[in-house]
Structure formats: structure tokens, C-alpha cells
């Protein structure tokens, strides 16, 4: 804490202009203490001894939710919008257990921060929407700030990612059996509705059998096209494509039962899929987009908040808030649970394309993984019919609305 030794006058060091008015707020939380420690260390700079994970575990849970950094998002159409990232400081290991009331209180405090910052639209990332079950009207200032769960854009990125991954592997999606883990959640059910007419067969898995049956009925499909189970092990060996979208505080699903040539989209935040070692199916992190126009964070926390192999990659739920701000739409585009319809997915996807919020490049914990998806393509298909197949199944074709 020796500012003098650092040759810095504290008054000068700390004297930055007071915040300008924000247009959007991104309410979120970090999914690991290691990431939290990295953020704190970045803010701390070189002063004092390095911060440890133990330090942040002991201090951060006591911090009231607050703005962590200021964000400017640039559209490819030349426009931009300003906002803030507000962290609710939810403890990563207590996302699923622990007091729901306390977590809701933290989200409410974060919502108050969004209002104080002058946001007109606020996206609820990760568990900040899950603990509310999408009931954004529980938040203070709901009449002044439009809160969106951001789940519609997350769904759009997931289904787009799955379609492109299947195309890279030269497998038409309508021939594939798609398993959705966490199928009754807002994101999972949105994916199920969207993929109903596109995937060959849907396997829906979730913990609550009543919700599962209700979802199956709502899809108005016969059992041959939509099967349900509360046991993931029953469905994992049968899936060509797995979408993991369950609300978990830590990875839980093992891929040992999954076929090695399957494609797995881990769209959880925190991640759903356990690292089972080498040789398993190709896993990519889904539900994320890349802002082609660029993002600017002050202080620059991009590399610690979003430590991805490609630049400007952010969760779809947060990007939805930025997108609505760029459009000047202060509305709760996504709210509640289980209401995401294909038409809304197409609408938000069209906006994403308009502003250059592209699907994030394929990557996993190790780095880019597009080549492994391409390697899944049958050798014969590649050798015998690459041109015809490319014409019929273009990898980069825009998704057609239903």
C-alpha cells in the first residue's frame, strides 16, 4: 500500500471523472474464485502483496454489488452504446445451494446499481436470472429499467452453433438425435422449441419429471420425435449432439457414456461438462457471441472477465442487453421462464447480424476446436462429394427462419 514508493500521488491516481450516464447494465457474477482473484489483482495493480484465492474468498462475498467496469460496445453499423458491468458478487460455490433469499437480495441490490447508473435496459447474466426464475418484476425500479434475462440471444447462439457444428461435421441436423440437458430451463426449453422441426429427434432431460412431461406436451409431438427422461445416463449414449444447458454451480455431466463422434455444446455458466480426459467427443463452449465491431472496457478487464481464445467473446445473455441498447429498445425482451419462442429467436438473431454480434468461434477449455469438428466429417463424404455437399449444406449460411 505504499503509493509514495510507487511514485504516484493518491489524489492523482484516484481522480478520474465521475461516471457518465449509462444506457445499459450487464448484471452478472463470476463462475470461479480464480477468475475473481484475477479481476481483483488487475484492479489492485502492483500495490502490496499479490492477492490470493483465499483472500478473495474471504473478502469478496462481503462486498455489496457494484459497478466493476464501464463498457462501450461498437456496432458494425457505426453506432455505439455505453453501459456498465455490475457484479452481484455471488459466491461461485454457493450458486445452487445457500440462501435463495440472500441471492435474490444481492440481485436486487445489483438492479439498484443499474438504476443508479442510469441504465434503461439491463441484462441478467448467469444465475442472476436463474435465482429469479426470470421474474424480473421482482426487481426494484422494474418500471424504470427494462430487465431482460438475455436468454433468447443465448438460445439463438446455441442453436446456431449446433447447426454450424453439425454442418462442419457433414451431418445434416435433421438426421441427428439431439439431447438437451437442462431441457425444462428457460434456455433448454427455448432450444427444444427451436430445434423441434430441425433436429431429427429430440431427447429432453431434466430433474423435474412434471415439467418434462409438460414440455413434451407443449411441443405437441409424438413420443417418437421427442423423448424425455430424468436420467441423463439413459440418453447420453444415444445422442449425436448434446446441448448442456443445466443450471449447475459446477460441472456435473460426464461424457464417458457419450459416443466419441458426438458433438457437445456446453452452454452452461458455470460449465456443465466434466473434463474426462482425452479421446472423448468434441466439446465446444456455446451460447456465446463475438462483437465484431469491438468492445471497450474501462478498466480493461476483458482478458480476465472473458478469458477466451478469440477477442470480444461474451455470453449471449449479456450481449442481448447491449443489442437492445444499440437498438434503443428499453424492453424486457426475455422474461419469465419457458416463454422463448422460435419467432423471438429469429428476431434477436436478425438484430445480432445487423450489429455484427456473430456466433463466437468454436473453442473449448484448451483453445480453438473447429478443426476437430471438421475432422468428424466422414472421410468418404469429404472425398466423394465435397462440392455437392457444400452447396447443399453451406457451413456459413445464415440460419433460415422457421
Amino acid at each position: 500500500m505504499d503509493y509514495a514508493a510507487a511514485g504516484v500521488s493518491a489524489a492523482v491516481f484516484f481522480a478520474r471523472p465521475v461516471a457518465a450516464t449509462a444506457r445499459f447494465a450487464l448484471i452478472g457474477h463470476l463462475d470461479s474464485w480464480e477468475k475473481t482473484a484475477a479481476v481483483v489483482q488487475t484492479l489492485r495493480g502492483d500495490l502490496g502483496r499479490p492477492i490470493s484465492v483465499r483472500d478473495v474468498r474471504e473478502i469478496v462475498p462481503f462486498l455489496p454489488p457494484r459497478t466493476v467496469c464501464r463498457v462501450t460496445v461498437f456496432s458494425t453499423d457505426g453506432s455505439s452504446a455505453q453501459g456498465v458491468y455490475v457484479d452481484a458478487f455471488l459466491s461461485p460455490e454457493r450458486l445452487c445451494d445457500g440462501s435463495v433469499r440472500q441471492k435474490i437480495q444481492r440481485i436486487r441490490e445489483a438492479a439498484s446499481c443499474a438504476h443508479r447508473e442510469g441504465a434503461t435496459v439491463a441484462a441478467l447474466g448467469g444465475f442472476s436470472s436463474i435465482v429469479l426464475e426470470g421474474k424480473v418484476d421482482l426487481l426494484p425500479f422494474d418500471d424504470k429499467v427494462a430487465f431482460t434475462t438475455g436468454n433468447t440471444l443465448t438460445v439463438a447462439y446455441i442453436v446456431e452453433g449446433v447447426e454450424r457444428a453439425a454442418a462442419l461435421a457433414r451431418r445434416p441436423l435433421d438426421s441427428q438425435t439431439v439431447l438437451i440437458l437442462g431441457a425444462t430451463g428457460d434456455v433448454g426449453s427455448g432450444c427444444a422449441r427451436y430445434l423441434l422441426g430441425r433436429a431429427g429427434r429430440l431427447l429432453l432431460c431434466a430433474r423435474n419429471p412434471h415439467r418434462l412431461r409438460r414440455l413434451q406436451r407443449s411441443l405437441a409431438s409424438d413420443d417418437t420425435r421427442v423423448a424425455i427422461s430424468t436420467d441423463p445416463d439413459e440418453f447420453l449414449p444415444r445422442a449425436d449432439v448434446v446441448i448442456a444447458a443445466a443450471s449447475l454451480s459446477a460441472p456435473r455431466f460426464s461424457l464417458r457414456l457419450v459416443r466419441p463422434d458426438a458433438i457437445v455444446c456446453d452452454a452452461g455458466y458455470p460449465k456443465n461438462i466434466l473434463a474426462d480426459g482425452e479421446g472423448g467427443p468434441v466439446v465446444f463452449f456455446g451460447g456465446m457471441g463475438q462483437v465484431l465491431g469491438g468492445l471497450e472496457l474501462v478498466p480493461d478487464l476483458m482478458s480476465v472477465l472473458a478469458p477466451h481464445p478469440a477477442p470480444n467473446v461474451v455470453q449471449g445473455c449479456l450481449l442481448e442487453g447491449m443489442l437492445l441498447a444499440l437498438e434503443g429498445r428499453s424492453e424486457s425482451f426475455s422474461r419469465g421462464r419457458g416463454h422463448i419462442e422460435p419467432a423471438q429467436v429469429d428476431e434477436i438473431w436478425a438484430l445480432a447480424e445487423k450489429h455484427g454480434f456473430a456466433l463466437a468461434p468454436f473453442f473449448d477449455a484448451e483453445g480453438p476446436c473447429e478443426d476437430r469438428l471438421t475432422a468428424l466429417a466422414p472421410a468418404r463424404a469429404l472425398r466423394n462429394a465435397p462440392l455437392a455437399y457444400r452447396e447443399e449444406n453451406p457451413v456459413d449460411s445464415p440460419r433460415k427462419p422457421i
Binding site: 500500500m1 493518491a10 462486498l63 455489496p64
Partner: protein, 247 residues
């Protein structure tokens, strides 16, 4: 009966030593508060303000005396040492600001920073302290809350007039004072003997009286940050200040 409940704490035991240290820290802090408010008397031009400052000083003195009396009932000799290293640094920072005639800085140190810590910690102690001791801490916490609220109201007004100026001032004072308070409540002793605990630091023994230094520090930082939020200071700035504190 009430005196008996606190008298039941076994003399010579570790819990007894812990309560002794808690009372000594509390009494010394109140004494420093008394001196700080007394210093403000010269800073004020208005006679009513001078009287108010003196009354505040008298209340802090009464708090210190209460802690001393409670210690006596428990068979504890409460130490009041304003030259104990941490408290001396805090007092020096206050005197420096008072010497410059900087009323706002003095207000920030005494009524925002010190009172945030006092209110949070007294409330925590009040929840676990037996009988009369617990009630005394609860009452004093409520009175210190009034001081904190008073400071927030004044600082909100100052912030409305000059947001950048106040932000710079709080930042500078934070560096001087909050780093000392953070060292005081760090998990381990950063600077060595605080000269109020006796031979060894009592922090590891706080669980003997159902307290925990991590919880105490967390609660104090929480109230401090919420107070800064209410004044109107931007949360991202105050977060940076907190992350730079000693741990």
C-alpha cells in the same frame, strides 16, 4: 443478575483475555473519537457547531467510560492507549487534516470511516456478548449509527455541489486511514503488536467468543462501501480503493 452473566466469564481464561482486548480496542477507539471531535471545535466558526462538536466529544468519552466500567465488572483492566501504533496513525491522519483546516476530510475520517467500522463491529459484538455487555454494545452502536447518518447527509450535500472534488478527497483520506483500519482487521497481524491485546494477538482466539476476524472485516468493509454508495461516489471507483487495501 446482568452483572453476574458477564461476571461468569472465567478470569484468566482465553475468552476473558479476548473480551479484555475487545473492550480495550473499543475504549481506545472512543477516546480517539473524543479527541477528534474536540479538535473539530477549533475548525468551526459557528458557535452552535462548536457546541455540537463538544457534545459529540462528550458522548465518545461516555462510551469509553462505559467500556471501562464494564471491564471492571468483568475483572478486566481496560487499556486506553491512544499511542498504540494503529490508533496513533489514525489520530495523526486526523490531526493532519485538522491542521489544514480541512473540515470535510475530518468528517470523512471520524464520522464516515471510523464510525462505519465502529457501527459494524459493535453490532457484531452486541449479537454475541453476554447480558449487560451485549446491551451496552447495542446501545452504543445505535448512537454511532446516528453519527454515521449525520456524516452521510452532510457528504451527500457536498457531493452534490462538487462531485469530483469530494471523490478526490475521499480517495486521499482513504489511503491514509482505511489502509490502517484494514491492517488492524487483517486476518493476521501485519505490523506486529497492536499494544492493546497483551502478549499475543487475540484474532485467532476470537471464535472463543463466537466472533471471527474475517466476518468482522467483511462486515466493516460492507458498511463502509454502502456508506460511500449512499454519499453518491461511483461504485467502480470505490471498488478499486477496496481492492488496493492491505490484506
Amino acid at each position: 443478575m446482568e452483572a453476574t452473566s458477564i461476571g461468569l466469564i472465567e478470569p484468566g481464561g482465553e475468552a476473558h483475555r479476548v473480551w479484555g482486548s475487545i473492550l480495550s480496542q473499543s475504549a481506545t477507539g472512543e477516546l480517539v473519537g473524543m479527541m477528534n471531535f474536540a479538535s473539530l471545535v477549533d475548525l468551526y466558526d459557528d458557535a452552535e457547531d462548536k457546541i455540537d462538536a463538544l457534545e459529540h466529544a462528550a458522548r465518545e468519552k461516555a462510551h469509553a467510560r462505559s467500556f471501562q466500567r464494564l471491564g471492571k465488572e468483568m475483572g478486566i483492566c481496560v487499556t486506553m492507549n491512544v499511542n498504540a501504533p494503529y490508533w496513533k496513525r489514525i489520530r495523526t491522519a486526523f490531526v493532519k487534516s485538522a491542521g489544514r483546516g480541512d473540515f470535510t476530510a475530518c468528517l470523512i475520517i471520524q464520522e464516515l470511516m471510523l464510525e462505519s467500522f465502529a457501527v459494524s463491529m459493535y453490532r457484531a459484538v452486541a449479537r454475541v456478548a453476554p447480558g449487560k455487555l451485549g446491551r451496552a454494545y447495542k446501545t452504543i452502536a445505535a448512537e454511532e449509527t446516528d453519527h454515521l447518518e449525520h456524516a452521510i447527509t452532510l457528504l451527500q450535500e457536498i457531493f452534490r455541489r462538487d462531485p469530483v472534488g469530494l471523490q478526490q478527497k475521499v480517495a486521499a483520506v482513504h489511503e491514509d486511514v482505511m489502509s490502517v483500519l484494514a491492517e488492524m482487521v487483517a486476518r493476521e497481524d501485519i505490523r506486529g503488536d497492536c499494544e492493546l491485546c497483551g502478549k499475543t494477538c487475540i484474532k485467532p482466539s476470537l471464535p472463543q467468543v463466537s466472533l471471527d476476524i474475517v466476518e468482522l472485516r467483511g462486515g466493516a468493509l460492507n458498511l463502509y462501501l454502502k456508506s460511500l454508495d449512499r454519499v453518491g461516489l461511483p461504485g467502480d471507483e470505490t471498488l478499486q480503493w477496496i481492492t488496493r487495501l492491505p490484506v
